[in-house]
Point group: C2
Chain length 255, copies 2
DNA sequence: TTCTGTCCCTTTGTCCGACAAAGCTAGAGG
DNA sequence: CCTCTAGCTTTGTCGGACAAAGGGACAGAA
């Protein structure tokens, strides 16, 4: 018979973890604001009363979590975690969990439609300028799959941004990052892929400008279905996202 | 006139970063599989030819990224990043970016509807057993706001799980984590809140069991609108998520 | 046999001290 | 007032050290 649970496990976190937690707490509850400097390592050594090596391990944890950064002069300061970095963590996780392209497609259908709906409703003139600019650049590289795929990824980021909904913006990003490399492959393999992609973007911008929700949703669906048709010429939707796709996300994260 | 670009910038990442990158690469591209042991710190010192302090800093980075863990005996091994941990990173970021409850509500409306649609279409018997079990436990604690809020959070995780779409599962989690504390406040403040919540869950399970998509979407909408009405009795939807809400997520992550 | 206590080796967490390289600062010199 | 150089500071890395805890092997007790 197992023992009755008389004691709860004791909290014995290593010192570096406690250092990280302490600093994190100050940032998350707002006592340290984004941009505020954290002291030097030596300062932290004095404040926490532990060795510099221990402090440094704690700093690594916070740095990886995106809560603190070193500016150009390597001084530490608190900062707002950046979406693209967080999203690439998630993309990495999705790859490791071997999600299928079907899951990506289905989730993106939902998320991109929601994005366009928000954009149609709330896009500002500044958003439209960015989108127009993206369209011009896309048209210029319609013959170059890699560059076009990059423009496509940026386009959808801009649409999400135009929705003014940061939760949505963040939620769609991981899946979108995994789409990106396949777009390049599809545009390469399917002759009319590039022009169709740019045409869809044009219709989407138009829908946003006219605040025409129906058209926005319609063209988003078509755009994604185009991706799907193109993808299915190359592979099955039930294939899991493969490891090699991560290399794009990795390169993006390092920037 | 600027110099012709004769040289590319040299990669001058610090050693600990290179260590982390090297190990990450092996895990992400599949040469090290989840569960595989990483060597001891001493092994890594030998392999990379750097000091143990440097190795340890690299390990912290990977640990925080969720790519490696220490098992009960503190030995290192690769592992699959856990959704709840990643999601709480995102929740933390959303709090720091001071997103509004309106953004949360709008995004969740999309994500939870998509979840239920997937669940209605693909839920297995095992999923239904879990949901039924959750319902029973919810009914038992309908008078206790904290416990009920926890059940509610779990319920929606289970629905997302039943959708069999892990991308969706991951995408909805950050917003859901921020909902959780407010649910407790609402159930506390609004008398009929608890019973209505449980009733909605019952209808949702019923819709999943009958594979009735319309009903599923309808009751998800109602459920969320209930939350919204309850929330608006307490505060404005345009208020930003506040720092104190993070404490729940923090506690969850530490587990 | 099965459990327990002991000894030893390994591994981790932490500490100390040190040093080169790069940034920053302030005073010297124009 | 501006520039340049000589410190001082800070970071990244190194080497070595030690206590605590885990794991394994082994002997003795129930």
């Amino acid at each position: 018979m197992p023992l009755a649970p008389l004691f709860r496990p004791i909290d014995v976190a290593p010192a570096y973890q406690k250092v990280a937690d302490a600093i994190e707490r100050e940032i998350v509850n707002g006592r340290i604001k984004p941009g505020d400097p954290i002291g030097t390592e030596h300062d932290l050594v004095r404040q926490f009363g532990v060795n510099r090596s221990t402090i440094r391990e704690g700093i690594r944890v916070l740095e990886e979590g995106g809560l603190i950064r070193r500016d150009s002069s390597r001084r530490l300061h608190a900062c707002l975690p950046r979406y693209s970095k967080l999203a690439s963590r998630l993309s990495r996780a999705l790859v490791l969990h071997e999600v299928t392209f079907r899951e990506l497609y289905e989730a993106s259908m939902t998320l991109e439609v929601a994005s366009i709906e928000g954009a149609v409703e709330r896009a500002t003139d500044a958003n439209l300028v960015e989108l127009d600019d993206n369209l011009v650049r896309s048209e210029a590289v319609v013959g170059s799959p890699a560059a076009l795929a990059e423009c496509d990824a940026e386009f959808h980021v801009l649409v999400a941004k135009a929705s003014q909904n940061r939760v949505l913006q963040l939620a769609r990003e991981p899946a979108a990052q995994l789409f990106y490399p396949t777009t390049e492959m599809i545009v390469t393999g399917v002759a009319e892929g590039g022009p169709r992609l740019v045409a869809a973007h044009r219709h989407l911008i138009d829908a946003i400008r006219r605040r025409d929700r129906e058209a926005g949703v319609l063209w988003t669906r078509r755009h994604l279905q185009d991706w799907r048709r193109g993808f299915e010429k190359i592979a099955s939707l039930d294939r899991s996202v493969e490891h090699m796709y991560m290399e794009h996300a990795q390169a993006a994260r390092r920037r």
